[in-house]
Symmetry: C2
Subunit: 242 residues, 2 copies
């Protein structure tokens, strides 16, 4: 079995990507990060998902992006709630500077030492309207870099960066995951969960997830806090149907 | 004063680069890594150098490249001594997979949050004969990536990756540092120092450093272990004079 590296956040997207990589026959080496994120609860979910995927190896890296700050996820900045312009072109305050570059760099080290030529990441169209390091052109450039950065590249092998969700809507992602047996009750998406891991239901990530389940006509297994907003109150401008 | 990020290893090269960046008028934000390296002693040197450079801020990131291994610096693989083909085209076992990509990624996060458009790294011609992630084409590609990866890039600013030593010989680097007041007794280069920080004098890094001081006609301030080899016993094929 060929090895693949899968970046696993504990969220809905990366769990689906893991299932897709497994379906393609890869032996999975999953990688998660405790980076000082507000929603560190997601790492519990990442571990559960890795177990469910029967991965070959799960590595947790602990890094300190709070040393740099600059994001609502890594500094004392409030997570926006009930936003009316999710999916707009402005970079949201939940953007964590260079996070995907850091994650992919570690994935590259992991790939190089495991003889893996394939790295999977769960970015999708809903993300790349806001985050620069989720855009297809960014991922293509990282793949070019990977060839120059590694022994594999020098030896003429190409390391591929796979982002199979890049053009999928949340509903399409959920339907794909259901087909592949992903148990979404094990995943968490909220940027601002309470201490028990219950989702706020009001941050961008919760709202997009809720709407995804509604659009997919799948019961939402997420455990929300008591005061989560009703979905209908939020406009979503994201280009989901691309 | 404009801010610049400087990757500081504790070695001769990065200390020189720091002094060059300071001479250019930048406020320095230095960044070092405890990555599980065998020669963790270098971090003591990095701290001393940061103090001598009167940096604005020194950040130490602790990451775990031993989780991946694959190098004599991060796994139980002997550091080669008394090698006869230093500077050959083969990638040495001291290559740490994706290390510079990881370091530059963190530097990018640091730059983004400090409003810095300039990142300095001390790679040079002696390195890039062996390490894929020290080649000029690699650095140029990372700079392209930086533009796509960041808010700065989206806003039309370019983040520059400066590698001012890239074409310099060790002797030229040392002469430059001396002119700028670098105290090389504060730096350490050895891949395999003893517990007191004394250099082995026999690894590639020691040999290149020794030869640099000899070529520059500068007294070598390095404290060596008792059984360090005489310099004359080692051939150096590196293209130092480019």
């Amino acid at each position: 079995m060929k090895a693949a590296i899968v970046l696993l956040s504990g969220g809905l997207d990366s769990a689906t990507v893991g299932a897709m990589a497994r379906e393609q026959g890869f032996a999975l080496h999953t990688l998660s990060f405790d980076y000082g994120q507000r929603h560190v609860y997601e790492l519990t979910a990442a571990r559960r998902i890795a177990d469910a995927l029967e991965v070959h190896e799960h590595v947790l890296q602990t890094i300190d992006l709070r040393a740099f700050g600059g994001s609502a996820l890594t500094a004392d900045i409030d997570v926006p709630k009930d936003r009316s312009d999710i999916g707009g072109t402005e970079i949201p305050v939940t953007y964590v500077p260079a996070r995907n570059t850091i994650f992919l760099s570690f994935a590259l080290a992991f790939a190089e030492t495991r003889g893996a030529d394939d790295i999977f990441i769960g970015v999708n169209a809903l993300d790349y309207s806001g985050y620069p390091d989720c855009r297809p052109e960014y991922l293509a450039k990282f793949q070019e870099l990977a060839r120059l950065a590694t022994r594999a590249g020098v030896e003429g092998r190409a390391i591929a960066i796979h982002a199979p969700l890049i053009e999928m809507s949340k509903a399409e992602i959920i339907r794909t995951g259901i087909r592949l047996g992903v148990d979404y009750s094990q995943t968490t998406s909220c940027y601002d969960p309470d201490t028990r891991g219950l989702a706020c239901g009001r941050c961008d990530s919760c709202v997009l997830r809720m709407k995804g389940f509604a659009d997919a006509d799948v019961a939402d297994p997420t455990r929300y806090q008591r005061d989560a907003s009703p979905l209908a109150s939020v406009e979503i401008a994201a280009r989901e149907s691309t």
